[in-house]
Structure formats: structure tokens, C-alpha cells
Symmetry: C2
Subunit: 143 residues, 2 copies
DNA sequence: TTTAAAAAGGATAAAAAGGTCTTTTAATCT
DNA sequence: AGATTAAAAGACCTTTTTATCCTTTTTAAA
């Protein structure tokens, strides 16, 4: 469904958001331990999220990564878009060059509904909405 | 969503099924033209579908590929399973080692619904159901 | 101001996916 | 039987994804 980059990126962003809610900055090594991802690769992904202004990084001792208050409303769809592009939201299920109801593939009408539901779900889920729920239900970020 | 192999494989299988309904065998070159896929690569994919007994191949002059009558009820989910494995049907959206309601990731409950809907759709769609519809609606397999 | 912690950036490497080419095998026609 | 046609099989190549390593830059604290 999503690339490895995207999976790690989502898990990382959620973990950082959790900690930011508790006013903690977190270092790369902590993040990759807590979400069980390869450290150096995770660093690259965090750079992308930083460049795209989804998380904030602070260099130097006592530095780390955090999600700023106003970025806590970031939709997961934005993160997916940064890391995997938008083909999951707009592409044809059978790989036709463009998904178009006027020239539909055999799966089009059913596929679009599922794709839209996925899109809506990722748009309606934000870093803040997840970290709020995390306090209630017990969900996890590593295997 | 699906790999290129899977996209080509689904398009090819649907095209072959269409033609089999008209009692036509189709050659590799025809298939790759009609579904707009790279020929040599498509050959590899058709071999997989043949080995997995989803389509039938006939060598020699007047040979080609076809879907046998009893295989027209093949579910698209079987083709996806052969070409991409079952991770799309069972894997965790955030890439946790296993998707498990007792240790759910933050997306689990919503993700499972979408994943199940995709699975049901691909199980309910068969080569025969698609080729029946193809006569009614005008759906396409390329570009 | 020196030190050390931490991210950024660049180079590289391994693995997987995507794709091509050549030889072999099987079927049909003459 | 021999020539021809078409897929099967396996070797090979290219690109993308996934991943590591190492150096540089930044910066807080002693
Ligand atoms: S054309 Fe294939 S999903 Fe829309
Ligand atoms: S645990 Fe992540 S989708 Fe089920």
C-alpha cells in the first residue's frame, strides 16, 4: 500500500507528535528505536519531513525533532503526499495513464470509491487526532 | 497500490478472458499491444499466470494464450495474490510486522475496513463478471 | 572558548523491481 | 522428417528503493 519510506515516516511523525504533546524533543536514535526503523534511513525521511515543514528539527546538544503546536493539525494525507506522491489518491487501479470516468478501466467505479475512502480517512486523521486517541486506546508503533 | 507486474497481469488476464469468450487465442505481441505493456516483461508475467494455472498457453503455430471455460470464474484477488502476494490483503498500513487487533497501530480499525473492502471487491470481481460487463459499459484497458 | 551532541549532506552499496535478450522446447504445416 | 511458429526458460541489464557510512555544520553547555 505505502512505501517503506512512507510507513516509517508516518510512524515517526506520530511518535514525534506524541512526544511533542508532552513537551519532549526526541533524537533520531530514540525515534528509530521506538518505531523500529533503520536509523540512517529514518534520518533521510525526517529530513524530507523537515524540508516540507511538517516537523521541526533542532541541531546541537539537547536538540532533536518536534512537531510545533500549529503543525499538530497536519493531515496524514499530507505526509503520504510528501513521501509517496499523490498517485495513491488519484491513480488508476490497473495502472492506466490516467483515471478518468469517461474512459474507465473495468475496476474504475468500485476502485474510486475505495480510493476515496482511503483518502478521506487520511485527510480526517491528523497528528493531533491520533495523539488524542493514543491516550485512550492502547495503540502501538512497533512490532 | 499494485506493482507494475500486477497491473499488467490484471489487464492482460482481462484482455485474454475477453478474447477467450469470443473463442480467440491471443499471442503475446497482440496482448502487449492491446494493453500497452512492455512485451518481454509481459511474457514473464504471463508465465507466472500460466504456472499458477490461471491462464493456459499453447505453443507453436496458432498458439497463444487463453482462459479456459472453468477458469473464467477466477477472482481478481487470486491474480493479485499470485503477482503481489497477500500483504495488500493482510498487512498493516503502517508496516508493523503483523496486523493484529490486540496490538493495533493507530490506523488499524479504519484501515482494516478499507483493506477488507478492497479484498471483497477483488474477490467478487471475476474474469467472467468483468467480461460480461465489458459488453454493456464501455471500459478500456489502455493506454 | 572548547567540547560534545545532534542534525544535514554527500557518497556509496545492497536489494528489489522493472525490463530485455537469447536459447530451448513444443506444436503445426508442408 | 524438416521448416516454421510461438511460448518457456534463464541469463542478463537498468532503474528505483532501501539502507549505510562518513564528513560537515550547527549549537548548547561547561
Ligand atoms: S480508470 Fe482505472 S480506476 Fe479509474
Ligand atoms: S495493526 Fe496496523 S493496520 Fe492493523
Amino acid at each position: 500500500m505505502f512505501s517503506k519510506s512512507c510507513e516509517y515516516g508516518l510512524r515517526a511523525a506520530i511518535f514525534i507528535a506524541q512526544q511533542s504533546k508532552l513537551k519532549n524533543k526526541v533524537s533520531l536514535s530514540t525515534i528509530s528505536e521506538e518505531i523500529n526503523s533503520p536509523q540512517a534511513f529514518t534520518a533521510k525521511i525526517l529530513q524530507q519531513l523537515t524540508r516540507n515543514n511538517i516537523i521541526k528539527s533542532i541541531k546541537g546538544p539537547y536538540g532533536g525533532f518536534m512537531v510545533e503546536e500549529e503543525k499538530m493539525s497536519t493531515q496524514l494525507s499530507e505526509i503520504v503526499n510528501v513521501l509517496d506522491g499523490d498517485s495513491i489518491f488519484t491513480g488508476c487501479g490497473l495502472g492506466l495513464k490516467q483515471c478518468d470516468a469517461s474512459a474507465p478501466c473495468p475496476l474504475h467505479f468500485e476502485f474510486v470509491e475505495i480510493r476515496e475512502r482511503l483518502k478521506k480517512m487520511l485527510e480526517n486523521t491528523t497528528l493531533i487526532s491520533i495523539t488524542d486517541e493514543l491516550n485512550i486506546e492502547s495503540t502501538i508503533l512497533k512490532p
